[in-house]
């Protein structure tokens, strides 16, 4: 039988092939792989065959079909967890949701937040007395004449054009049927709300919680498409070279032709952050008058009259619109601000928050206790939920 050593060598070649596909090999490593391919026809045949699309598809299907629940149940039946230290061992009911265990990207150093349905060590410390459900599709539409309309929480978005207003599934907003409307409108989400807005030019806006966007449905004499933003939104601006799209938010303006970007301009955040996904935007600091052009994957950070640009991992920044909290080297304070806005809770610190940073992805559609459990497992602090207050203690 093979020894462990020879097996490690097999792993090494596996790593070389993956490295080759990822183009991360050094020249000597490339050579090592080439030598292996040159060594036999069988090696070359395999490489060709595996990368052929039909077979790859089949293998992926097989890989994916692993019966997680069953294997886990079999493992649990045989494993003896009781041997551990004399803490209380209470194996909770293992209701594994296959999607629940998302283990996340490997960037930087930090603590990983693991999305598991239980974390027994700290299990009892998150209070179960009450729970808070996640934010949902809630928003209001305000008209310049002062009228406010509660938008349906059964819909995910609203489509606005000069002539009419409708939800994004085509159904009309009942309260407005057939009435002439003032041009200036504001769509706002409360804490714990999110909504999508399609503007008359086709631009799509995802509003995060506690945010609002104001715009006019009449053409602006300047030829600009002007909107203003409070809070956080993700924009997919439809292309129109002749009519630049301008977003005014706290302390800055962002001018674009057609592109995708995210602006985070909450009052309780120390800076205003504009992150470009695709295209190009011009950002102007309204205090200093200084402008800067952003390239994709860049983020502009404005604090007072200061404007700084850096390269960022954009996935973490736009995850909210896809239903996730995505943390990339994020500190606890920032994480707790996001939780406060989405679950509409107040955070009370009875202890200093840890300085370390966190990485991970958690669905925004879990109840707050589940999210706190995940955070607690990676933390040295305790969370307690009292009505709409999260109390953080030692």
């Amino acid at each position: 039988m093979n020894t462990a050593n020879s097996f490690e060598k097999e792993h090494q070649i596996a790593r070389l092939i993956i490295g080759h596909l990822q183009e991360t090999l050094s020249p000597p490593q490339e050579k090592e792989l080439q030598d292996w391919l040159n060594a036999s026809q069988a090696n070359r045949n395999w490489m060709e065959e595996f990368c052929e699309q039909q077979s790859f598809h089949e293998q992926l299907g097989k890989y994916h079909s692993a019966n997680t629940e069953l294997i886990w149940a079999k493992t649990l039946a045989k494993v003896n967890f009781q041997k551990k230290a004399p803490t209380k061992v209470s194996m909770p009911l293992w209701r594994r949701v296959s999607a629940a265990a998302a283990i996340l990207i490997t960037i930087g150093v930090g603590v990983y937040l693991l999305n598991l349905p239980f974390l027994s060590k700290h299990q009892t410390t998150v209070s179960h007395a009450n729970d808070i459900s996640p934010g949902k599709n809630v928003a209001t539409l305000q008209l310049a004449n002062g009228k406010t309309i509660q938008l349906s929480d059964q819909k995910t978005g609203i489509v606005i054009d000069a002539a009419k207003l409708a939800y994004n599934d085509g159904s009309l907003i009942r309260e407005l049927n057939g009435k002439a409307l003032p041009a200036i409108k504001t769509v706002s989400t409360p804490r714990g709300g999110t909504y999508q807005v399609v503007l008359p030019d086709g631009t799509r806006v995802w509003l995060n919680s506690a945010s609002s966007i104001t715009f006019s449905t009449a053409p602006d004499p300047s030829g600009l498409r002007k909107v203003s933003l409070l809070g956080e939104a993700y924009f997919e601006v439809s292309e129109d070279q002749k009519h630049p799209f301008v977003v005014s938010s706290k302390n800055q303006t962002v001018q674009v032709l057609g592109t995708q970007f995210n602006i985070n301009s909450y009052e309780d955040e120390a800076s205003v952050k504009t992150t470009l996904i695709t295209g190009s935007v011009k950002i102007t600091n309204l205090q200093s008058g200084v402008s800067n052009l952003l390239k994709p994957q860049q983020q502009a950070k404005i604090v007072g009259s200061d404007l700084q640009v850096k390269q960022v991992e954009t996935e973490g920044i736009t995850a909210w619109k896809d239903g996730y909290f995505r943390f990339v080297n994020e500190d606890m304070k920032s994480i707790m601000r996001q939780i406060a806005r989405w679950y509409d809770v107040e955070i009370i610190n009875e202890t200093e928050l840890p300085n370390e940073t966190f990485n991970g992805r958690i669905s925004r559609y879990k109840n707050i206790n589940q999210v706190l459990k995940i955070l607690q497992a990676a933390n040295s602090v305790q969370f307690k939920l009292q009505e709409r207050r999260v109390i953080i203690s030692k």
Binding site: M1, S6, F7, E10, H11, I13, A14, R15, I17, I18, H20, L21, Q22, E23, T24, W46, M47, F50, C51, Q53, F56, Q59, L60, G61, K62, Y63, H64, S65, N67, I71, W72, T75, A77, K78, V79, N80, F81, K84, A101, A102, I103, L104, I105, V109, V111, L114, L116, L119, S120, D322, G323, Y324, P354, E356, T357, N359, S363, Y365, A377, S380
Partner: protein, 199 residues
């Protein structure tokens, strides 16, 4: 008092040593699919593969004090799995041609097992990207590409419109493309992968 930072894998290895079940589930989540695929390739038998994979994790828990690195844990799991598959094949009175081929290779310690290992690693990488898709996207992607359901069928199953299914599908492809381009997985693999999802 601020905690000392730990790299996350070191954190889990240490947590496993200390007997934390959360660490055990971490490694289970990380490796069970790969091990399953690997065992299935060698055994051509689903039920036995599941038994063997669960045994591997039981052994991991029993020997949790022995490991200093994540790599050591992974190697241990794969070696246990390979050995268990080998023993099972040896015990069988009637085995298929394919199985006897593997048995022969395992007996000789031939490198061919390598192919199964490399395939496992690559599929693991692709699967990780799929897992990262937003929920609805992933659901649609899995139904269409892995379970080969029709678009109209998926719409009924998920109670959404055909257009929404298409949108999710397009978005899934877009996200996967971006993910792979970012990682620089080019060459043969990307091609193979993109071809079959481009439809």
């Amino acid at each position: 008092m601020p905690l000392k930072k730990t790299t996350n894998e070191a954190h889990w290895v240490k947590a496993l040593k200390q007997g934390e079940e959360a660490a055990f589930t971490h490694f289970f989540d990380l490796y069970h699919k790969s091990l399953c695929f690997f065992a299935l390739r060698l055994l051509q038998n689903d039920a036995e593969g599941q038994e063997i994979v669960s045994d591997c994790f039981v052994k991991l828990w029993e020997r949790r004090n022995n490991f200093e690195t994540d790599t050591a844990i992974k190697a241990f799991l794969f070696i246990s799995c390979r050995n268990a598959c080998f023993n099972w094949l040896k015990r069988q009175k009637n085995i298929s041609t394919k199985q006897s081929e593997y048995l022969l290779q395992l007996e000789k310690g031939e490198e061919t097992i390598l192919f199964e290992l490399v395939e496992t690693e690559i599929l693991d990488m692709v699967n990780q990207e799929i897992e990262k898709l937003p929920d609805k996207c992933r659901e649609v992607f899995n139904l269409i590409y892995l379970h080969q359901h029709k678009t109209s069928q998926v719409a009924i199953e998920l109670g959404i419109s055909v257009q929404t299914v298409r949108n999710h599908k397009t978005r899934a492809i877009q996200l996967l493309k971006t993910a792979f381009l970012k990682k620089g997985v080019s060459a043969a693999l990307t091609l193979a992968f993109l071809l079959f999802i481009a439809e």
